[in-house]
């Protein structure tokens, strides 16, 4: 039983990750896919930071009166990951805007249909 309580943080993270992944692959709207991707990335931050926490510790800023500090290494990695994530989101959104202007729609099925019609030598 204590095993389950000990691993609870991992499982909630996995649930968030899988939910984000589901939004990414199961929905056809490109904007919603991007939001799913962003959710997936955010839950990965939780995956890295949760194991770094020490109960009874404090933020990893060395100061008088504190003995235990939470692990600072995951924080460093995740800081970089957050900024890279927003860079990815910005680029993805720019691509979606261009797709909208080129195809007139941001639904995956409609775009694929338009591509198939354009590739057909029907005219």
């Amino acid at each position: 039983m204590s095993q389950i309580a000990a691993h609870y943080s991992y499982w909630i993270t996995i649930f968030l990750m899988v939910a984000g992944m589901y939004i990414l692959i199961a929905r056809g709207n490109l904007m919603k896919k991007l939001v799913g991707l962003a959710t997936l990335q955010t839950s990965v931050y939780l995956l890295y930071i949760a194991p770094g926490k020490l109960i009874g510790g404090t933020a990893p800023i060395v100061a008088e009166g504190f003995a235990t500090y939470s692990n600072p290494l995951p924080h460093v990695l995740i800081l970089t990951a957050i900024v890279v994530g927003v860079a990815t989101l910005a680029l993805g959104l720019a691509i979606v805007v261009r797709i909208r202007e080129a195809y007139g729609s941001i639904e995956e099925d409609e775009i694929l249909a338009l591509d198939r019609d354009a590739a057909d030598p029907a005219d």
Binding site: V18, Y22, R27, K53, P60, P72, I82
Partner: protein, 167 residues
């Protein structure tokens, strides 16, 4: 947070999805503060709930479409997601328990940074010291990544001065 994500998945209105994403980011920032990651929480709150939401809203205005079409059959993605989730959960069974002081990540590199960092760099914030000094090369790469993303957005969205729409 799980409730917010499930609501995001089932929502059709894209504006609602973006607002839910903002709520999700704020909740994540709060959880990160509870996990003692104050730098990360500040960045996540500013970036996720601030800039990301603004960019999503801007793109939503540009793409126009408000509603998502109903989907056909989500069974395969659902099964796939559950399978991946099950595999991940099986993998985490052997990982160290939450907040175990004897876990490997607390015993090798971290104490060295926590003890030597302020002495060698003179900076009490160990996260900043590691980010800017010990792992400064990675931060250089990350700055270049941000710059590349900005350059990419400029390249994609720059309009010529002519008035007849896209080039």
């Amino acid at each position: 947070m799980a409730v917010v994500v499930v609501a995001m998945a089932s929502q059709r209105n894209l504006f609602g999805v973006v607002v839910l994403f903002g709520i999700y980011s704020f909740l994540m920032a709060t959880v990160l503060v509870a996990l003692d990651a104050v730098d990360v929480a500040m960045t996540e709150a500013a970036v996720g709930a601030g800039v990301s939401t603004v960019l999503l809203l801007g793109a939503l205005y540009l793409t126009g479409g408000q509603e998502v079409k109903p989907l056909h059959r989500p069974y395969f993605p659902l099964v796939l997601s559950l399978a991946v989730g099950g595999a991940l959960a099986y993998g985490t069974w052997d990982l160290p328990a939450f907040s175990d002081p004897l876990a490997p990540i607390h015993t090798h590199v971290a104490p060295r940074y926590l003890n030597e960092g302020p002495k060698e760099t003179g900076v009490p914030n160990v996260v900043t010291a590691v980010l800017a000094s010990y792992r400064g090369y990675d931060t250089l790469g990350e700055t270049v990544v941000v710059f590349t993303a900005g350059a990419g957005v400029i390249a994609l969205l720059r309009r010529r001065k002519q008035k007849h729409g896209k080039k």
